[in-house]
């Protein structure tokens, strides 16, 4: 009969009282996370997503992408709240915007965030694109991410175009008239595109509801999906090094380490260990 190997002696509890309290707090945080991890693998996934190797000489320019993402999230969040107060009909749209700005508590702030945040989003997209271009980060193997980024740029600009009509004041109306007619001068299909955008021969309430639906349903969904793809490729391909870097660009793939059921576990000193 084989002897069962002796179990390792339990680690003696840390003597100091303060440490024991810290351990308890950490355990309190980790127990639900362990529960989640065991059933979904989400914690490991998030770790894989967030704690990646990046070149050591990345700099502040590499934050422009996440700044753009933040700007989009601000637009999405404020937009959802604005949609609760906005009424997209020709008789009520302007009045409801006035109501948001003047009457609703903090409405001026949220509308201001959405209005100015729109410009911030567009400007950051261009800054991010300039960074990627000047650093040469669009080159192999990241060409596809550049293409997705261009689609995001186009959809972002379309968000600007469709959102500009919604206040339904003179500026909004005539800017949209000119914008649609500019599209209408495109060869062959231009008149059809303009007709589609107007929802008919003339700009009417249908144009407003159409732009509203495109602005708050179609384009944000498409942008969110494309951002997902964009990030997937960033994680897969890694962050590119700056052009002056001696390090090779890209993600240094580690050897696959054996992983236990609990991927992350607090140690006595509260540091996260594998």
């Amino acid at each position: 009969m084989l002897e069962t190997p002796p179990r390792p002696a339990p680690v003696p509890p840390p003597s100091r009282k303060k440490n024991r309290l810290t351990d308890k707090v950490i355990a309190l945080v980790w127990i639900p996370l362990e529960w989640l991890e065991e059933r979904s693998g989400l914690v490991g996934g998030v770790r894989y997503f967030l704690f990646r190797k990046v070149p050591s000489d990345t700099n502040w320019f590499h934050t422009l992408g996440s700044a753009t993402l933040t700007a989009f999230l601000v637009q999405a969040g404020t937009g959802v709240i604005l949609a609760m107060f906005y009424r997209p009909t020709p008789d009520e749209a302007y009045e409801s915007i006035r109501n948001i700005t003047d009457e609703v508590t903090l409405g001026w702030l949220v509308r201001g965030m959405h209005r100015w945040g729109a410009s911030v989003f567009i400007i950051l997209m261009f800054f991010h694109m300039a960074r990627v271009f000047l650093f040469g980060a669009y080159k192999y193997p990241r060409e596809l991410n550049w293409i997705i980024g261009i689609l995001l740029l186009v959809f972002g600009m379309l968000e600007g175009f469709t959102g500009y009509l919604l206040p339904w004041d003179q500026t909004a109306y005539w800017a949209t008239v000119v914008g649609i007619n500019l599209n209408g001068t495109g060869p062959v299909m231009g008149p059809f595109l303009a007709q589609f955008l107007r929802g008919g021969d003339e700009i009417t309430g249908e144009t407003l509801t159409r732009f509203y639906a495109i602005h708050m349903l179609l384009l944000p969904g498409a942008i969110a999906a494309l951002i997902g793809l964009h990030l997937y490729l960033v994680v897969r391909l890694g962050v590119s090094s700056p052009p002056w870097s001696p390090e090779a660009a890209g993600h240094d793939r580690r050897e696959v380490e054996p992983r236990g059921p609990g991927l992350v576990r607090p140690t006595a000193r509260g540091r996260i260990a594998r």
Partner: protein, 312 residues
């Protein structure tokens, strides 16, 4: 890396010309839908004929005996059937899993098409259908004194409300050579990019009157325009609507008109290339209504062969 150059074995099934004919038929059908019905029918016939030939070809290829030594589907991982199955029979048998795979994909595609087509149609077609409006009653012809300009603002579609308010400049030219009344009715939509063109000259707002018609209220303001000009990008037109300055690409659009029971009615708008002469004697180069910024004549006119209203 060396580019993959194939395995020097013939394609299976061998390349066929039928898909090309099928594609030509579909293209012909799509163009025909817009341009002419006979062309569309011809395209459909071509597509069906080549489609049938293609399908027949593809199915015949599926029944062709498989070369010995190659797996049933040519995949390296699939071993050739063992000796106990008659080789010829095995080659002729259509694999069931492949059949189910294709059936599932095909049915899924059909269902997706059935669901998607009406939605796409609903998304696109309403913008192109039911766009006719009955015309606008501008009230008794007495409101338009001879050789004087009146700025009329009216509701193009009273059901839509104020958003359909439009403006036209109206001048009664007296009767022409044929003893019929002549009106110059110019739309104020700038033919550059659609901004509202204004009359440059005094407006007699104190003499403006509101006219009630069967459909809606309209406002008539006497004006004395030296010319018409657009606030957006500086387009300018003379009183016949000809471009005199700025970016517009043609003369201003005009409205057809009719007189019913002594009342002036605005009918369809149309585009004008150039106006020669003045008032009742003016000679117009008239075209179907085009969007702002679209050339009607010259080489650039070829850029806009069909308009959405041509399809109605």
């Amino acid at each position: 890396m060396e580019p993959h150059r194939g395995d020097d074995k013939p394609h299976h099934p061998s390349p066929s010309i039928w898909p090309v004919g099928f594609a030509v038929g579909i293209a012909c059908l799509l163009v025909g839908v817009i341009v002419s019905r006979p062309a569309a029918i011809a395209g459909a016939v071509i597509a069906v004929v080549f489609g049938v030939l293609w399908a027949r070809d593809a199915m015949a290829a599926g029944r062709r005996p498989v070369e010995p030594g190659v797996g049933r589907e040519g995949l390296p991982g699939v071993p050739a059937p063992e000796g106990e199955v008659d080789e010829e029979e095995a080659a002729n048998r259509y694999p069931r899993n492949q059949f189910l795979e294709l059936t599932t994909l095909g049915l899924g595609g059909v269902i997706a098409g059935i669901v998607t087509l009406p939605i796409l149609g609903f998304a696109v077609l309403p913008a192109f259908t039911n766009q006719e409006h009955p015309g606008v009653d501008l009230g008794p012809t007495d409101n338009f004194p001879e050789n004087e300009w009146v700025e009329a603002t009216f509701l193009l579609d009273p059901a839509q409300g104020e958003v359909s308010r439009r403006t036209a400049f109206v001048r009664y030219n007296g009767t022409g050579d044929n003893d019929l009344p002549s009106y110059t009715i110019i739309s104020n939509r700038c033919v550059h990019l659609g901004c509202p063109v204004q009359a440059s000259g005094p407006r007699r707002d104190e003499d403006a009157e509101t006219v009630k018609t069967d459909q809606a209220e309209l406002r008539l303001t006497p004006i004395l325009p030296a010319n018409f000009s657009c606030p957006c990008h500086g387009g300018a037109y003379d009183t016949e609507g000809n471009r005199i300055a700025g970016p517009p690409v043609r003369a201003m659009d005009r409205y057809k008109f009719g007189i019913f029971d002594g009342k002036l009615h605005l009918l369809q708008a149309y585009s004008v290339g150039k106006v020669e002469g003045e008032g009742a004697d003016a000679q117009l180069e008239a075209y179907g209504l085009q969007g702002p910024g679209e050339h009607v004549d010259g080489l650039e006119g070829w850029l806009y062969p069909i308009q959405p209203q041509d399809l109605r």
